[in-house]
């Protein structure tokens, strides 16, 4: 095929190119529509399956609500569920200090952030947060540390985990009297959980 042949066949070749282009466009567009429709169907089928499962397990769901609602309300009151109750924590510190006969507690609370070990508890849709509280206090002897931590836990101000503690003996030059002998410093993680807007029940 030479130049003259190509020139003579220019219009048909342009037409075949145009038809091929339009055809490809039509096939591509219709294919995209089909894929989108298939995805929508898949999503809808998942929703349908969820709805069917939810309906099927509605009796079981009622049992769960009845069984766990009181415990949940209790956790709400202690401040584990919902916003942080820092005032409760400080009240707890004050009371624990009194009950353990300590010499006062200094505290410092950091900003709230996601709980570092949340994945260990598989929280799903729940958001676990933590605020680190560093407490510094003085002890008569090392055994007071355990008493203080027990007392703090008993206050019901929330749930905390002890990350680390440091005790350092104070040099009293051998004098024996009622005085602090040990400096202590602990990092506590106050853990809270957020379950979504208050009063919102999961709807289908």
């Amino acid at each position: 095929m030479n130049q003259a042949d190509l020139q003579a066949l220019r219009n048909p070749l342009l037409m075949v190119a145009g038809v091929a282009l339009l055809g490809a466009l039509a096939v591509y567009s219709s294919g995209r529509l089909m894929i989108a429709a298939r995805q929508q169907l898949a999503q809808q089928q998942v929703q349908l399956k969820d709805a069917r499962t939810r309906l099927h397990k509605s009796g079981e769901e009622k049992d769960i609500i009845v069984r766990y609602l009181d415990g949940f309300r209790q956790l709400e009151r202690t401040g584990f569920v919902g916003e942080e109750q820092r005032i409760n924590w400080l009240d707890g510190l004050r009371l624990a200090n009194q009950q353990a006969d300590l010499f006062g507690v200094d505290y410092q609370i950091g900003a709230q952030r996601p709980y570092a070990y949340a994945a260990d508890f598989s929280p799903g849709a729940l958001a676990l947060n933590q605020s680190i509280m560093r407490v510094r206090f003085r002890l008569l002897h090392e055994g007071d540390l355990d008493r203080f931590l027990d007392a703090l836990a008993r206050q019901g101000a929330g749930i905390f985990a002890i990350d680390q503690c440091l005790m350092r003996r104070i040099d009293t030059r051998g004098v024996i009297r009622f005085q602090p002998n040990v400096n202590a410093e602990c990092d506590l993680s106050w853990i809270t959980v957020r379950v979504g807007a208050s009063g919102e029940q999961k709807k289908p």
């Binding site: 048909p12 038809v19 950091g110 929280p123 090392e142 680390q164 990092d187």
Partner: protein, 520 residues
């Protein structure tokens, strides 16, 4: 079926037929002179674009049978082209048709070479067609086209002589085993019927003698004469030929039979003696095309154009079918989606109806359960320094010389750091994403051996003994002495004075790292 312009050219008349839908729809005859050419050009101007198939009925024709060594591809084309040039130097209208293989040992190729030896006969007509811009699809000799008549009539005779009265004379074409062997066009007087019978008989006899001379057929062999009588005017001649030649059969094909068996209108048979052949040419073009490549350029482009348009059509149809299938599936899928949505809505409304009977809860049942369980687990897995302090106390009971000055404890993925544990800031607390691994308890002990009187060996033994007792505890994973009172590492320098009084300020300090086994 595509339109064709079928043109039959003879020395006296030119017949043009318009082929459409598998039959001739128009047939016109022009005189082979200037006036006829002018009329023909006018006719072409009125006609639509279509390929022209040209048939020539002329005395100036030549046929040769040749046997050539068997060859393929370009070798064959080159050899055949050379032979054609040797035979026909003065014409460009020639063709070679492969008839088959020879039966001899060499199994050579048998060819029929044919040519129109007077190209001027068709030059003006071809020029008119080319000037109109119509592509020339092929140029054929009438006897080659006439071979198609045998197929249409399904003639079984071994030796067949096809005889037809044309404008230019009597055309006699001989076929053996339905394969073309010879054709003659005679110019003789056929005016009165009695002369015509004698004329036919003589020409048939001459042809038989010629065939005998060529050793194509002996005079004793039986011959079937097929007399084409398009005007129903050769009844007497047919009877006369049969009577005068007892060794042959003479079969006359009248107008009605021709029209019936070929599917051609009576009016066309009357319009031109070439209408039969043009009809055959329209049905199927013979293999022996005399047109050179230069003449066929337009037709090649025409075919290419048609092929491209056909490809366009195929593409469009394929795209339409494909797109249509996609759209059909899309519609079906959307229907299924709507059905699923309706079912979901129905199930959801049923679920809502049921949940109205549930106790009022601040969140979903799943969240309630998970929240309570997480709180329980957090409480159950809480760790305090109490366990480490207890096992430390047990070890100290048997090591009264060990005094602990500082005690650090940590529960985390990493162990407690040896230095600066108390100097951390809250920003250094565990980050949002803890390092991978299981958390465990670790403790750092900073102490001294008291009393110490400069006996480093004894102090180190005491410290190692204390560490050993700790390591014996089943919950302990590892005990590491980080610092000893005297660093005896040979890689470091060591200095001091033996006259120094240790009781006045010397100490035997040490540091131990204690790591518990991770909780199970």
């Amino acid at each position: 079926m595509a339109d064709k312009l079928l043109i039959g050219i003879s020395a006296h008349i030119v017949t043009s037929a318009h082929w459409r839908g598998g039959r001739i729809v128009e047939c016109l005859t022009f005189a082979n002179d200037e006036g006829g050419q002018a009329d023909f050009k006018e006719y072409l101007d009125r006609s639509a674009d279509m390929p022209a198939h040209i048939m020539v009925d002329a005395v100036e024709e030549d046929y040769r049978f040749e046997t050539l060594p068997h060859a393929y591809g370009s070798d064959r084309a080159e050899m055949v082209g050379r032979k054609l040039k040797q035979h026909y130097r003065n014409t460009t209208y020639m063709a070679a048709t492969l008839l088959g293989r020879d039966t001899g040992k060499r199994r050579d190729d048998r060819y029929l070479f044919s040519a129109l030896t007077n190209p001027d006969l068709i030059a003006d007509w071809l020029q008119a067609v080319a000037a109109r811009g119509m592509p020339i699809a092929g140029i054929y000799l009438l006897p080659m086209v006439g071979s198609g008549l045998l197929d249409k009539l399904d003639v079984k005779a071994t030796n067949l002589l096809l005889v037809a009265q044309h404008a230019t004379g009597l055309r006699l074409t001989f076929f053996r085993d339905r394969q073309f062997r010879l054709s003659r066009l005679t110019r003789g007087d056929s005016g009165r019927p009695e002369n015509r019978t004698r004329y036919f008989t003589e020409e048939i006899s001459n042809t038989r003698l010629y065939l005998h001379a060529l050793r194509t057929m002996t005079l004793d062999e039986h011959l079937t004469v097929l007399l084409v009588d398009r005007g129903d005017e050769l009844q007497e001649e047919a009877v006369g030929v049969a009577r005068d030649n007892p060794s042959l059969d003479c079969v006359r094909l009248g107008r009605g039979e021709l029209a019936g068996r070929l599917g051609i209108d009576n009016s066309l048979l009357e319009a031109s003696p070439y209408a039969i052949y043009l009809h055959l040419l329209g049905l199927k073009a013979p293999l022996s095309n005399l047109a050179p490549a230069s003449t066929m350029v337009g037709y090649r482009r025409y075919q290419a154009r048609r092929a491209i348009y056909a490809a366009c059509g195929a593409l469009a149809v394929a795209a339409a079918v494909w797109s249509g299938t996609n759209l059909y599936q899309t519609v079906m899928l959307r229907g299924d989606t709507e059905d699923a949505a309706r079912q979901t809505a129905l199930l959801s409304s049923q679920y809502l109806e049921i949940t109205r009977q549930f106790p009022q809860a601040p969140t979903s049942a799943e969240n309630l359960k998970k929240t309570v369980e997480i709180a329980q687990r957090l409480r159950a897995t809480a760790h305090t320094p109490q366990k480490v302090m207890a096992l430390l106390g047990r070890a100290l009971e048997t090591s009264p010389a060990i005094v602990i000055r500082e005690f650090g404890w940590k529960y985390g993925v990493t162990e407690i750091e040896a230095e600066g544990a108390g100097a951390r800031t809250l920003d250094a607390a565990p980050s949002a994403r803890a390092p991978a691994g299981q958390r465990k308890e670790s403790a750092l002990l900073d102490g001294e051996v008291r009393p110490f009187r400069g006996d480093y060996r004894s102090a180190i033994v005491t410290i190692n003994g204390f560490a050993g007792r700790l390591a014996e505890e089943p919950e302990v994973s590892e005990v590491k002495v980080i610092k000893l009172p005297l660093n005896v590492n040979p890689a470091l320098s060591l200095s001091g004075n033996t006259l120094d009084n240790p009781e006045q300020g010397g100490t035997a300090e040490f540091k131990l790292l204690l790591v518990l086994k991770p909780p199970k």
